[in-house]
Amino acid sequence: MTADAHRSGAGPPAPSRTALREGAIFDRRVIAEIQRAANEGIYDIRGFGAKRPVPHFDDLLFLGASVSRYPLEGYRERCDSDVVLGARNAEKPLHLKIPITIAGMSFGALSAPAKEALGRGASAVGTCTTTGDGGMTPEERGHSQLLVYQLLPSRYGMNPDDLRKADAIEIVVGQGAKPGGGGMLLGQKISDRVAEMRDLPKGIDQRSACRHPDWTGPDDMEIKIGELREITDWQKPIFVKIGGSRPYYDTALAVKAGADVVVLDGMQGGTAATQEVFIEHVGIPTLSAIPPAVESLKELGMHRKVQLVVSGGIRSGADVAKALALGADAVSIGVAALIALGDNAPELADEYAQIGSAPGFYDDWHEGRDPAGISTQDDELAARFDPALGGRRLANFLRTMTLETQTLARACGKSHVHNLEPEDLVALTIEAAAMARVPLAGTSWVPGLSD
């Protein structure tokens, strides 16, 4: 309708303006995703872990020393942080100086220099790294004093020599980002070297198995664990890694099947590439997975005898201390380690902008275009990453987390971080209280338990 017709008085009145209102259900992000799916006909794939808010360690607080409890002085009054993993059956358990390990991340997902940096950093502080879905690289074995070798459904690169070179073996049943899913690596990251290690044609999308090829179920996993022990002459601890799902049963079954260590990865755990719906909608928060797993170990008389390593959103010494207080023996970091190496660095803002992202937001790790040279197989990009510098940064971060953990533990009067216990914690929300099974702050109420 023309302006003239309007001025003449004929036609309907001008529409009034109301404020733009975004829906909570169909918000901008959801609308954009539906539009993308309509364009492309395929699910969205990305890296990183769950991004939406879920109850987490931030909802827990420590009860520091007061009149009834006394703190330890820093420095002189020791607060030890060492942990031994895998003494149940292995001749050579892992002795770690700090209760923080580096989680499994594949060469393929990460560049070779990134894997080297992880090894350097971990070794500098006396802890271990873990291989990933793709096998063991000489860089990682060379630079990691202690290396855990994963046995995944894909079995890419699996061989007995690496099994024997490893310090421990981790049977991966699942990971927190996608319990029930298999590995994923898209064609753009299947470089010559990756292709050769994985026995795949170069440049194709790797399809993945979600079940192990030669066993299904805990009763058959027991036999598999037996085989791995026989191949390695009973020397090495056997870990079993599970994604947070039914941790009470899964932990019991791992123990019954013969695991020396249980690694429990909550839904916040990262991935190099998975469907967005899988990351956000399958698996339970780390906080809610720990108490059932610990309960299971206690019922079997195995708490502290079969160690529990927790991962999935561990970001600081506060998270470490809280996980330990809930009953874990150690924690593992993945995403945090990559960030310490240099992922999402603010200095790369321009480069991130060129690929449609920004520091603090970059999660398209599956694309292999990482300007930081970490989640890429592109030789030029990877060459930008300095593994020695990255290693130092990781070591700094690990030391910081350890110091933070010790600070909190001392404030609670503990001379060893393992003496942190659930009674040192309270919760800020009802959900966190129910999940962590600790009281709401200022009350004695634990929803579901003390009702």
């Binding site: 894909s154 007995p160 026995d199 044609p201 399809r207 037996g226 026989e230 009973w234």
Partner: protein, 235 residues
Amino acid sequence: MAMVESAPAVIEVDLAVTPLRELNAALHRVSGDDRGSWRVLNPRGAHAVAVGVDAPLEIDVEGHVGYYCAGMNKQATVRVHGNAGVGLAENMMSGTVVVEGNASQSAGATGRGGLLVVRGSAAARCGISMKGVDIVVHGSVGHMSAFMAQKGCLVVCGDAGEALGDSIYESHLYVRGSVAGLGADCIEKEMGEHHVAELSDLLERAEAGFEASEFRRYGSARTLYNFDVDNAGAY
């Protein structure tokens, strides 16, 4: 450990008397080029017999074995005079493994090299995720055989069950009998000269008295190599 030398070069281990752990430890202690002969008696379905061997030994297992016999084998020739359970020669790297009887599920799973011969039949998932091993089955194989098979050859002188070669990458499959059904992205393919040569060589080495001309070849259609929405139904 009780070991008896019954002939100049044969070391005998009786699993009715000797713990499995000692047998495997002893096999692991030999030097990497040891060509000695070993006989394992009374396996009675034990699991993980002769696993992780890395020397060109000749190992004869007298009886039926349980799961994962000859798992991750390197260089050795392991002969099972009986049937084998789940995961026979899983992830084998090189050498030869022969089972005189039948093999249970996942025979040769994720194998990366060497030759596996099943003189009887293999069950489901024969050659699952194979990564370079060659497998020759004188009899038939069960369903989901060569699932996600990446490299290496699977030769079936009998019949193949449902979903053969589902999600296959670059392995070559040769079947002489009937195929109950092909898996996603697996199709029949032409036999070129080099395929005939490859198959004939395997049949000879496996002592299977058939001609390459009696077999049909199957392999990847390669439509799932890079995602295309029109193939979504295959996933």
